[in-house]
Amino acid sequence: MDKLNSKDIYDIILLINQYIAENKEKLSQLDAVIGDGDFGTNIGRGFETAVKRLSTVDPSKTDIGTILMIVANALLESVGGASGPLFGGLFINMAMSSLGRSEIDLPEIVKMFTDGFRGVQEVGGGTMPGEKTLVDALYPAVEALKQAANEGKDLLTAFREALLAAEKGVKSTINMVAKRGRASYLGERSIGYQDPGATAIYLIIKAFYDHISHR
């Protein structure tokens, strides 16, 4: 029971798309202050494309990896900018980790997210926490999942802790100086503003948590 199956992942993707769409303007606004203002529009278009392509997919007959690969390709092909390869890299690695699987348990989920995180790091050129990027939300969330799994907690608790960690991570970006991406041009002037990429990661984790808690 304490697993996620293809249908769960499918529904979670729909929920991610909904959350991103609802926050499109806000995400672009965050990007406008320290970047170029396109983040919400672009990532929004990406998940919209993903969901459109998934509409012809029957989750009961498709493995998790394939579903996530469709998402990854949609993001890679339609987002562009920095976030296209970054979120694309996240989902490609998550897909590779779950290819052929129709359900995954918490340890497998931890592995999937760890692989995804490595994908982001690779594309980003070795991005580390503290550089005011989406890594500042993703890394603590993955760590929280890992710890929860080690402590034998259940799926819901694991994602509750991941969500709290992601939220704290997002907030922590406010006081950071950007070291990567467009915001880094501002140097010290980037202090005081929240990173849009990290905010999107928070919404993704939230979709996982909300789905699990409501099913």
Binding site: V33, D36, N42, L76, G80, G81, Y185
Partner: protein, 330 residues
Amino acid sequence: MNRPDDIVREMLEGMALAFPDIIRLDSQWNNVYRRYRKPGNRVALVCGGGSGHEPAQAGYVGYGMLDAVAAGHVFTAPPAPQVLAAINEVANDVGVFVIITNYTGDVMNFGIAIKMASAKGVKLDYIIVNDDVSISDISKRRGTTITILINKIAGAAAEEGWSLEEVKRVAQKVLDNGRDIGVALTPCILPTTGKPTFELAYDEIEFGIGVHGEAGVKRMKYIQSRELAKIMVDAIADDLKLQKGDEVALVVQGTGGTPYMEKFVFYRDVRMYVESLGLKVFTSWIGEFFTSLDMQGARVAILRLDDELKRLLVAPAYTIAIRTPGIVVS
């Protein structure tokens, strides 16, 4: 504007309708190619990036400059698969030369596309353009106007049948000898959100801006065109270590919403200051070359020339935005 999401495609359609003799549009990807392919034994040039910088880069496709351009959404690097499609379209035996502006998104997407194309056996090389002098960390410098001069000079070399190595060498020479700097008097308004990209008081100048409406490296009080010309030229001259007697090309441009009048007043001030430093102006480009939507502001770029660069800079070109001899301002 109609639907904001359609703006790039519709613009490219407009360009293709207006100049069917120069370009051809692949509307699946928003890629722009030469109407008539170059001979297969010539290096092909690929460039691209986010839109909103017109005439960059689609305006530079044509004889003597680029072969293919991948146009992303407004201010958004084109996705890697789109860039790959552009590379594949012009791939040939002598090689593809890819010109990349130094922005995270462009470097990532073009980088992935290059890796994929290489893996499939396409012969290619590339340059990452980082000419924006306003940032002191050289690895972070953005790609701006010198990109266009590379398009022009490497394009002329490719048209003459130079090898991939030689095309890359001359492109690198342009990058080593060229720098750009920009200022904004107003932000630009994103067509997708309808919002300005930053707030700027009436009497403030945003100094050291990129080309995406992102805020610059510092903010200063309004000063006269003459003083601004001096500060901007000095920043470039110091960085390039320009010497009395050096010959240069001067590019003075608006940022998309700058009135004609201000461009020529500013050009006069830049030119007079450049000459007062003992530099010789070989040629000037005045107009709009690498813009930021409707932003009001200005960019100055200077390229130190030798005989090779001079010859290639004035070599024939026939594109929408640049036709030599004679840069036309409109």
